[in-house]
Symmetry: C2
DNA sequence: CTGACGGGTTGATCTCAATCAAGGACAACA
DNA sequence: TGTTGTCCTTGATTGAGATCAACCCGTCAG
């Protein structure tokens, strides 16, 4: 696990012009508070594949994603893996009230994060109801997404799973201003499989089927939704 | 949808000797605050099968479960159902920041709840960081449970699903002081199936298998874990 | 240029859980 | 007492997705 602090060579990126501000918890803070929070945070970078923290380890920091994608996953003893989600810029990682990390997180491509020591962040938050409110809200959105994912895992077919995943991913990206014609998929097929409760072969076959049916077009870096309404219908479960 | 307010005939149950206090959000409040909160809450009761609120309806209240069990579920247009969880005494229902109910909730057996108008609760909470902190914590625990359930849905066999469910249910009950030799299962087989991403037949068969193998003994009202270590091993995924 | 490797695709076969179908246990009720 | 309905169980068969296996393609090292 390599941590590299953005050091001397790099410009200090002030929170003020942070690209993830607006989606992140920081949105709940005023200028002064922002500076105070910046004081106790530091910017860290992880290269592709690096582990940011591991399941069951003691959590000493919270993180706010600044740039890049992370996969958040849980492992069973026999190494079956479930990716419980992908974290994007603005997402907050870490749960006050739980001493240990509840899942592992590693970088999908290069990632930068704001790191906050748990203790000082908690102290900082304690007297700022609007920050706590924001955290309740973020947790609520996360919970809603988790529930939606349970429906996917428990009750949808492979084709619906893939379509739902693509639509959900598109909507999340556009929510943070990263919408576009081509939908980038930085994660590997195996990651998608472990996220959707499928095998890599089924994911591959299903992508092929959707392409054959003219719903998507696949590229090395992602897909284009040729027939978004059809994908949305599949995603909604209106087979 | 029948709502019956506990009325004249019934004793007013003060929050002070509420059996769910201690697990519920109220635990974060002192005596004075508790009385204030009681002021803006009312006790409501639902008979078995009654719907407390429905998915996509506008949320006007928050609830704290006082007694009984609720099933929380999402429906697909074609009526496939995923039960995202069961709520027990002390659980908080409703997410600040989302205008609509994100799932439906109905009573499994008779249920009583504390109902708080959303607005007045929000106003009350706004100035009480320790209450907000408690809500963040509760949301965090809920999220952790949701993640664990994703592993179950995405990566476990039918037998492991049932074993995990039983162990998880036992632990939750004992966490609220309802542990005991016999593990009550107030929900129906169909509920369990829709919670675990199985069919009712597979649930039934798997219970039968576990009973044949001497892991459990089934009764009308629940099960006894004859071989808890074996069930725990299955639950952990150490097949 | 060649071989090894990682990531992805495709085909053949198998298996676990779904589906289809029947019947049992039990409570509510006429 | 028989009738009806709900819930649960069990058996037979099917099928979606897993597994096993082969192969393609681009990249990188030697």
């Amino acid at each position: 696990m390599k941590i590299s602090v953005l050091g001397e060579g790099m410009h200090f990126r002030s929170c003020h012009d942070c690209t993830a501000r607006g989606f992140a918890i920081c949105a709940a803070l005023d200028k002064t508070e922002l500076r105070e929070l910046a004081q106790l945070s530091r910017h860290v970078r992880f290269e592709s594949g690096a582990t940011v923290f591991a399941q069951a380890n003691i959590a000493t920091s919270f993180f706010s994603v600044h740039a890049g994608t992370l996969r958040l996953y849980k492992l069973l003893p026999d190494s079956r893996r479930q990716i419980v989600g992908f974290a994007l810029p603005g997402d907050f990682l870490g749960l006050p009230g739980l001493p240990h990390h509840e899942f592992s997180a590693d970088a999908v491509g290069r990632v930068t994060l704001c790191q906050f020591p748990k203790e000082s962040f908690a102290t900082f938050a304690e007297k700022r109801p609007q920050l706590l409110r924001r955290m309740v809200e973020l947790a609520g959105h996360e919970l809603a997404r988790a529930h939606e994912h349970m429906v996917l895992l428990g009750r949808r077919s492979a084709e619906e799973k893939i379509a739902s995943f693509l639509i959900g991913w598109r909507d999340r990206l556009s929510g943070i201003g990263r919408g576009g014609e081509i939908l980038p998929l930085p994660m590997k097929r195996l990651d998608i499989a472990d996220h959707l409760g499928l095998t890599i072969e089924t994911v591959s076959r299903t992508f092929s089927k959707l392409e054959r049916d003219g719903v998507i077009q696949t590229f090395a870096s992602g897909v284009v939704l040729l027939d978004a309404p059809r994908a949305e219908a599949l995603s909604a479960g209106v087979s």
